[in-house]
């Protein structure tokens, strides 16, 4: 039996094509994935991301615990509401999950983890919490709706009385509480917008109100092409427990400079780096897909995420290739039974409605 979010009925009523997504029955699209993608880049759209798990960390040791638990430095979080993206590593330095931490006060940090890894994450955190005065509380009756696109904030303000005053000056990558709701200026599309946590019972009404204001529902299909264009990693594809975050484009989130120790740090310091995560732009006709083999001047690599980019109207990918391969090099990718030409590029590929290539 697949799990359903509080918005399942709304999706069904709106004609969603529902698929099994890591044990959750989720909307893949509501008609056309490509149109939904453009809708977000050009106007705005809403995503049900209630399958993701919200965890609250409370207790006097919250900051110390997180400082030990994650690779990024929670000491960057000093202003209430500020968010931090981080990887959570195992002792070998592999990525257990990637997550967002919101700092609300010294005894309340809110974390959002991936759906497919939530149980594993909670078990790991519980185990690491020994000796710390903290409590880890999964918020299982919170739904989450992401509204993304250049007009997203305006639409939320129209749909949610009182939210404009509260969030107009909210800076990117920060959050604020609004009654029983939690509004964050974060997302996974490369566009401006909000991610809004709301009690499950109230979610269908809020979703319907956004729809009345003209916000179109967007499925997980477009969510994937949007995040790929924006150059954002997807857990399980671009990194996992066997992958070094420094070879997965996550070096900017791993704090090796400070004195602080964290789980996985020693392993990372002792390991030579062989790979980088690079962008690929397909020059021939076809579509790049994950697991396709890449041949470069410095050896073999592999595509971790590949698809058709609706914004660029050509196929793009993230690929793990040898570190020495420079941007601009032409490489070969085995696409089905053919060797096709692709160019190594710096990503992101597109953000804020525009191609960056």
């Amino acid at each position: 039996m697949l799990k359903r979010t509080p918005l399942y009925q709304s999706h069904s009523d709106m004609g969603a094509k529902l698929v099994d997504f890591g044990g959750w029955e989720m909307p893949l699209h509501y008609g056309s994935q490509i149109e939904e993608h453009h809708q977000v880049r050009r106007d705005c759209g809403m995503f049900d991301v209630s399958h993701m798990q919200v965890l609250d960390i409370s207790g006097s040791d919250s900051r110390n615990f997180l400082s030990h638990l994650v690779a990024n430095n929670v000491d960057k979080l000093r202003i209430p509401g500020k968010a931090l993206y981080s990887a959570m590593l195992n002792e070998e330095g592999g990525v257990i999950d990637d997550l967002i931490i919101y700092y609300m006060d010294e005894s309340w940090f809110r974390i959002v983890v991936n759906a497919g890894t939530a149980d594993k994450d909670i078990a790991w955190m519980e185990k690491q919490a020994t000796g710390f005065s903290v409590e880890i509380s999964p918020q299982r009756d919170l739904a989450m709706i992401a509204v993304q696109g250049p007009n997203a904030r305006e639409k939320v303000w129209e749909a949610l009385p009182g939210s404009r005053e509260l969030t107009e000056r909210l800076i990117p990558f920060s959050a604020v509480e609004m009654g029983t709701m939690f509004i964050a200026r974060t997302g996974y599309t490369g566009e401006d917008g909000f991610e809004i946590m709301i009690p499950a019972k109230a979610a269908p009404f809020f979703w319907a109100t956004l729809a009345e204001k003209g916000v179109k529902p967007i499925g997980l299909g477009a969510r994937d092409t949007l995040r790929l264009e924006a150059g954002m990693n997807l857990y399980g594809q671009d990194m996992d427990e066997a992958v070094n975050p420094l070879e997965a484009g996550l070096a900017w989130t791993v704090d090796l400079k400070s004195e602080r120790d964290f789980i996985g740090k020693a392993a990372l310091l002792g390991r030579p780096l062989k790979y980088q995560l690079a962008g690929l732009l397909l020059l021939d006709r076809g579509v790049l897909r994950s697991h396709q083999k890449v041949s470069t001047s410095h050896g073999e690599g592999e595509i971790t995420s590949g698809s058709f980019s609706p914004t660029l109207e050509q196929s793009i990918a993230l690929a793990r290739i040898p570190r020495e391969v420079p941007a601009g090099e032409e490489v070969r990718v085995m696409v089905r039974d053919k060797l096709l030409r692709a160019k190594v590029v710096k990503y992101p590929f597109a953000r804020n409605g525009k191609s960056l290539i």
Binding site: L28, S32, I34, V287, R289, F308
Partner: protein
């Protein structure tokens, strides 16, 4: 479910239309396009290529996945639909008019082995369960 009664079908979701001049026109069904989603790339076979029944002879790629198209009969490719090159979305818009290729059958009797609309419909329904 849109399954025109005047066409023949394969279990691998191709539709086949018998033309007056003895050739057959081949495309993928509406059910197939709906499973694949937005098409972004179509690779058609070379005109003049000889193919056997069940042989992979074209590829359709959607945003989601790539899928082979199989020859419904043995014969020679005599024409391809060049329109699909720049407009693969035509398959999503109307799968039964967005044909992919035409073939001349080696043996007209092979056509008898294709499915009629009712038989194809029951295959689609059984896949749904």
């Amino acid at each position: 479910m849109n399954i025109p009664g005047n066409l023949k079908y394969t279990a691998s979701h191709e539709w086949v239309r018998l033309e007056d001049d003895g050739t057959v026109t081949v495309g993928i069904t509406d059910h197939a396009q709906s499973l694949l989603g937005d098409m972004v790339f179509v690779e058609t076979p070379e005109v003049g290529r000889k193919v056997s029944k069940g042989e992979e002879c074209a590829v359709v790629e959607s945003v989601k996945a790539a899928s082979d198209v199989y020859s419904p009969i043995s014969g020679e490719i005599v024409a391809i639909n060049g329109d699909l090159d720049g407009s693969p979305e035509k398959i999503n818009e109307d799968a039964f008019s967005a044909w992919m290729f035409k073939m001349r059958p080696d043996n007209a009797a092979d056509l008898g082995a294709l499915l009629d609309a009712a038989a194809y419909q029951s295959i689609v329904e059984s896949e749904a369960h």
